[in-house]
Symmetry: C2
Subunit: 507 residues, 2 copies
């Protein structure tokens, strides 16, 4: 297709319909629109939409009811925000020239590796939202499986770092940890940050909120303190306390990454290249120099086999070396959730319990946090395992790590104790036997149905552990919720799949 550079500018009256299409920019026009007819625009056509001097590229959807009249136009939420448009503004629309960088995506689909400039162009167009979902999908498809070679992963990582903000630190060593599965990261990371910061190592944790899980690190930390820090506030907290746990949503590190992730998740396509680039680019953009990456091996987690996790670990390390990041990947074989709580408040309670050395604190969570903190100390200070572990354990046992968490919370805006949900219901064992399986996915879904993470107090409190012998009528777990309806809702779901949730081997 020949590209016409001269376009007619059509003016239309904006009307807010309040439609949220996630991050994709969508423009809505009525089927009666004379412009659509004469220009041959149809649903999915890419249009340039301008207000004053701002322009976005959006995908067209046609409205055939009377929501929009001829001469009117609307935009999806994200597009409205980007253009800063309000009712009765006049928008100009015109057809869009083909995207240059889509030619690179096609080249990649044809099996050719791309160079650094090509990845830069693609990632820049994605970061500036020029890719519609179907364009993003073709890019994710092109990078699926192991279609991206090591050099390309390096280019991709560099390109992702380039398009966003980059944090600057005065210290030479900036540590972090990352849990790939997202299953336990929220619980462990807060403990790890407390230990590492109490050792005097800088560890600015930039975290995310839950999308499909019952709690992200930012959700759990939000129970204890404020996590919506500006860049200036975050620098101040870290300068004072060596560490922080802040929400990264507004920091614009690696803006292309979120757009890719959204489509990758919806598509259900794995891409080792995109995964590695995404993890490492975010760390590099945050100014991290030393990072321990926890790769769990569980059936429900992202890395399903030992072979896959070792291959991922090796490649992560290789690309990290390229971009000058000290990375230590460690693989754990996971069989059950760490700690007792699932849901922001209940997980925050577990975190406090471990740091306070409560006798009934979850031992598995303490053990894992110690392992990861030890790796960070070993990596940053270049010392042997045992002395590193001794230092870490001492910081927990002495209460110094706990004090550090409190100080960080105060620096972020004040410390709050987690509170209990208003309603709860405890599930009792129907039989006697040994717990042979606890299904992570089902437990997470029950917690969400009970209200987590929006209701921070909602969730599940496990009363048993894997391989534990239990008697009939012994408590298995308690569901917490803030309304009787939600409690019942979660319980009804559990009742449907009772025998799949927690499996017993009868004696």
């Amino acid at each position: 297709m020949k590209v016409l550079t001269e376009q007619i500018n059509h003016t239309l009256l904006f009307k807010d319909l309040g439609i949220d299409t996630n991050q994709e920019f969508v423009v809505f026009m009525p089927s009666s629109c004379h412009i659509c007819k004469s220009e041959g625009f149809q649903a999915l056509t890419r249009l340039s939409v301008s207000l004053n001097r701002s322009t976005i590229v959006a995908t067209l959807n046609i409205i055939s009811s009377d929501l929009l009249k001829e001469g009117e136009i609307s935009l999806s939420k994200s597009a409205m925000q980007k253009l800063k448009v309000k009712d009765t503004d006049l928008l100009r629309v015109s057809p869009v020239d083909a995207l240059n960088s889509m030619a690179h995506v096609k080249e990649k689909l044809n099996g050719n590796p791309l160079n650094g400039c090509q990845y830069n162009e693609i990632i820049m167009d994605i970061a500036t939202r020029k890719y519609s979902n179907i364009f993003l999908s073709s890019f994710v498809a092109a990078c699926s499986g192991d279609n991206v070679n090591m050099e390309e992963i390096y280019f991709l990582t560099q390109a992702m770092i380039k398009v966003g903000n980059k944090l600057q630190w005065e210290n030479e060593i900036i540590a972090d940890n990352e849990c790939i599965s997202g299953l336990h990261g929220n619980r462990i990371s807060i403990i790890v940050v407390s230990i590492i910061a109490s050792l005097g190592i800088t560890i600015p944790k930039i975290s995310s909120k839950a999308i499909t899980s019952p709690a992200g690190i930012a959700n759990t930390m939000q129970v204890l303190t404020n996590v919506n820090l500006s860049l200036a506030q975050m620098y101040k907290v870290v300068e004072k306390e060596n560490g922080c746990i802040a929400w990264g949503g507004a920091m614009k590190l690696c803006p292309a990454d979120n757009n890719i992730l959204k489509v990758k998740r919806a598509l259900g396509v794995d891409s080792e290249g995109l995964m590695i680039a995404s993890i490492l680019a975010k760390k590099a953009a945050a100014g991290i120099t030393h990072c321990v990456i926890d790769i769990p091996i569980v059936s429900a987690a992202k890395v399903q086999t030992i072979r896959d996790s070792i291959s991922l670990a090796l490649r992560l390390k290789e690309v990290a070396d390229y971009i000058g990041l000290n990375v230590e990947p460690i693989c754990f074989n996971e069989v059950q959730p760490l700690g007792f709580g699932i849901g922001p408040s209940l997980e925050a309670r577990d975190v406090l319990s471990v740091l306070q050395n409560n006798p009934d604190a979850p031992k598995d969570l303490r053990k894992r946090a110690i392992s990861i903190a030890t790796e960070i100390v070993r990596l940053t200070w270049n010392i042997d395992n045992q002395p590193a572990e001794d230092l870490v354990v001492k910081k927990i046992d002495s209460g110094e790590a706990f004090s550090k968490l409190i100080s960080i919370c105060i620096a972020q805006g004040g410390f709050h104790e987690p509170v209990q949900a208003k309603y709860n219901k405890t599930i009792l064992s129907a039989g006697t036997g040994i717990i042979s399986e606890i299904d992570h996915q089902i437990m997470a879904r029950i917690a969400r149905l009970a209200g987590a993470p929006d209701d921070v107090e909602a969730g599940i409190d496990l009363k048993i552990q894997l391989r534990e012998c239990i008697d009939k009528c012994q408590p298995l777990f308690t569901i917490h919720a803030n309304s009787p309806e939600q409690l019942n809702y979660a319980y009804e779901y559990y009742k449907q799949i009772e025998n799949k949730t927690i499996k017993l081997n009868y004696e």
Copy 2:
């Protein structure tokens, strides 16, 4: 991800918002919806939506304004039609298990060829609208360029034929022609059908309406007669007259093809495999046995180089042989539009003019129609070129082909003469010289801006031909429109790019 087979059914009240998202099924739910919150549904999540015993799979969009209240739900037009839903119906929604056939798409993305069963599953899921646009995009991406081998094209073609209706004919030979570029097909095909049917060869032309061009075959034929034939009506017309030119929109031949085409067009990705499968599957589903395929070589058409067209011709023929279809591909080097008219009525006028042997009928159009009709005769009757051409020319010269067209029109519902648009404006040459280029794309856009194809009388009437010597102020072309605004609109666009539309080499 583990798939949960037990799902909760949530009931929500339907409200029509009248949003047309083209063929993709989209479900709209308010951001306040307790189900979205508890289930963790977000924009792009795939949901199963049911009414009574009908179920569709749709992509979620979130509405954050008051268009929808908590407890309400809406659907895109296509999804509404599929479920036959009306205001205040109660719909049930639940999460959707992962699509089996997406595993095959991932396998293909990883470079592995797929087998027949795998293509059958994919195409069945696409035909039943289980693929969202991003799934479709990943499939198109997987098949892009020459990623699909010959055996796979065969599987793909068979799979496409399988999922739709298949027409049955009593005669042994059922002829057709196909023009790949779509640039001239509308003009030629009506002439070819008239000639071939007058020779006693069965030629049931199933045609489409314009999407991005100023006229499709069905648009042009609609000027002369009714094209919305039921299957029964079409069989009757063909039995009586040997030929027809009907609109295929409602016949459900190859239903997967339209969905794929829509995303392929929006993505701008070429796929030789999908193109070949699409053409041949439609012919096979229509019961065609002998088909001449016209592959034009023009800068603006789909096949850009001679090498590409020869490669395409060879592959088309090979796959056609596999599925038992006699195909003769012919490549033409196109440099300008055939005939004078662009737009349904003006093109219909050219068609009548050629068949009526008017002295001022476009000679290029007559010549091309004769070439293609001759190829069909040669292919179906297995005779030499010269006797075949003699037969064809005789049918035009004697007026028999014209009579046949009138008979077909009468059988389809009555013959109507094309009428002129209400307004017109003639563009005069600004200089003296030889016409060195006429830009197809620009001419087509001017015709659309003037109102074609919805206003059948609108369009362009060319007054000159390529390589013609012209004087200053000699007419170049006339724009036809049904309102002064549209006429002006098209004219204003032309004025912007005057010197690119028709190029003169000055003497």
